[in-house]
């Protein structure tokens, strides 16, 4: 994968929220790539910064949040510093967005057909007649029955699962190279969720679209993503191929996170739990942000902030995997 040029390159991204009580750092030194045709999963608990990362990429950070450092490049072109108007053409044409709640994406006053046609005529060199024909094709493709009739329905006339299908059609219809999907299945019931995941996967593969899939659901990631980034307190704790991160995680946080997922295959007397909770942005501990909860913490973790380094099968921001950490880390690593 490393021989192709990445489609999206995020380097040292820093997002800040100025508040009356000082500046909160919501994202700190976040770097990753997404290659053409690749699905990158981004997981983490609430407040870890996963949605923030997606919002920064599509240029929709909620004010007063702002990008305070680093760069975001799409196909070699910087998009983090584009004027609002230019960013609007990037969004839709080059990056499609899917959000958790389909009702926030769809305009309740327009028929879904009008919204699809408008998106296509804005971004693609086609006229309204052809766009309408294509809109029907898209609705069929995402599995809306009787698409030719339903195209003139309003969003409220669709059920939740069908609405999310319309949103997917809307995100894909201008044939963007990258889709940023933020919790696309969280608002849906499991049986509908399975349908939507299957659909996203097939379409991304067929169209060769890259995808950044933000979710808290590890099961969805395991089924859909090629690689996965695990976020904690505004930083990437671990990143690697999905199988390695899910099956052989290295970072103690990822290990704890995986262990706390209740299994469906058997009953446990006790679930593994991570003590405590994620720190607030205003009180991120010195050194490694995870150190107060980490079962393997040692002196260095409390003073120095770890960068992503090679660790077993993945890359992890953890001093356990730095040879320079010395014997103490080696002992803990042998236990872990």
């Amino acid at each position: 994968m490393s021989n192709t040029r990445p489609l999206l390159e995020v380097r040292n991204l820093r997002v800040e929220f100025p508040t009356r009580r000082g500046t909160l750092v919501a994202l700190d030194d976040v770097s990753f790539d997404i290659h053409p045709g690749e699905v990158l999963g981004v997981v983490g608990e609430s407040g870890a910064g996963k949605s923030m990362t997606g919002a920064a990429i599509i240029g929709l950070l909620e004010p007063p949040g702002r990008i305070a450092g680093g760069t975001i490049s799409l196909a070699g072109r910087r998009i983090d510093n584009l004027p609002y108007k230019e960013m609007r053409t990037v969004r839709g044409r080059e990056i499609g967005a899917i959000f958790q709640d389909p009702l926030t994406t769809l305009n309740p006053l327009y028929t879904v057909g009008r919204q699809l046609v408008e998106t296509m005529t804005t971004h693609l060199p086609i006229g309204p007649g052809e766009a309408r024909k294509k809109a029907i094709e898209w609705l069929e493709l995402v599995g809306i029955p009787a698409a030719a009739q339903r195209i003139d329905s309003y969003p409220h006339e669709f059920s939740g699962g069908m609405r999310q299908r319309v949103v997917i059609a809307l995100a894909l219809c201008a044939e963007p190279k990258l889709i940023v999907a933020d919790e696309p299945t969280t608002a849906l019931d499991v049986s509908i969720q399975a349908q939507v995941i299957a659909l996203l996967k097939t379409l991304a593969r067929e169209k060769g679209t890259s995808m950044m899939l933000v979710t808290h659901d590890m099961g969805v990631i395991a089924e859909t993503a090629d690689r996965v980034a695990v976020m904690y307190a505004g930083r990437i704790a671990e990143i690697g191929a999905v199988r390695n991160v899910v099956k052989h995680p290295s970072h103690p946080y990822t290990i704890g996170l995986m262990g706390s997922i209740p299994p469906i295959s058997h009953r446990l007397e006790r679930l593994q739990q991570i003590e405590g909770s994620m720190p607030r942005l205003s009180a991120i501990p010195k050194g490694c942000a995870y150190n107060p909860r980490c079962p393997h913490v040692f002196d260095r973790c409390r003073s120095e902030r770890p960068e992503l380094i090679p660790a077993r099968d993945t890359q992890a921001a953890c001093w356990l995997y730095d040879p320079a950490s010395g014997t103490q880390a080696a002992e803990v690593r042998a236990d872990a």
């Binding site: 069908m162 049986s191 349908q195 706390s260 299994p263 295959s265």
Partner: protein, 358 residues
Amino acid sequence: MPDMIPAADTRPMLETQDVARFFDVSRPLIQRLLAGEGKRMLRAVDGVSFSIPKGTTLSLVGESGCGKSTVARLVVGLYRPTRGTVIFDGQDLAQARADSTQRRRMQMIFQDPYASLNPRWRVRDIIAEPIRAFGLLKTDAEIEARVAELLTHVGLSPLDGQKYPHEFSGGQRQRISIARALSSNPEFLVCDEPTSALDVSVQAQILNLMKDLQRELGLTYLFISHNLAVVRQVSDRVGVMYLGRVVELAPAETLFTTPRHPYTRALMEAIPDLDMTGRQRIPVGGEVPSPINPPSGCPFHPRCPLANDRCRAELPQLIPARDTPEAVVACHAVEEGRDGGPMPGVALAETGAAVAAS
């Protein structure tokens, strides 16, 4: 009741007999008269019967709109049933609720710990409210000591009583909700999606806490959830609901190893595969129909791969399943043996060990 398990203490903590709750969703009278249409009833719960032996956990699972939360509210008396009866420890619920010594024996934990705690009250007052309301303790010193004990019990510090709810994280707030529920020394807790709003690592903390409390205090739980994996961890028995009815009710182990109802199987099939066995999932098609206009016959028939003419016409009753009689299933296909007999659920087919590589 075919689903009762003989228990040492024979009287179940809670029993529902053919309980139903309809909601009137008709348009205003004038509009109805002008349009010449009748009343429209939403059948949220339509004939649900189960019993929960003392000290055990019954879970109800199902997708949104299946009526599971309505059952929770019926069972604690927040709704009155349209039909049928709820029996709490041998006594009709309506009578039990009128008597505060009975009333304090049941409590409820809600899904959203942000909405269920009064933001203007200190935590100690929130937890002490049931104690004061039922007059369980007289002096302030006694109440203070009890609140401190409850806070410690749920893993918080007695000093946290001074604080307000906004100073706590979601998981800590759910601990406060649990402390409040426990403050009247209840025997029966109704938990409506208690961990759905929480992150997964915090969910594990709360589930472990609830298990510990059950063991220590001998609590009986009615546990409502949409998450089958969570349900597997906490339940003795599980009822699967679809469109206001229980379609399968079985001991947890039986349900997860040999799910019988086609809907139960579909639900399990739909769970994302964390073990990455590469198994191709076949998602069930279609969506849950409207409870205002439920389909004829079996409510699941429009989505069911085994549906035939009988399923479209005749409502199946909950009866012991062929080959796995400890499960009661409402399905003509299972009754007639058209389902191919008990098959291991996907949960069992995945032989992959636990994901955690600790």
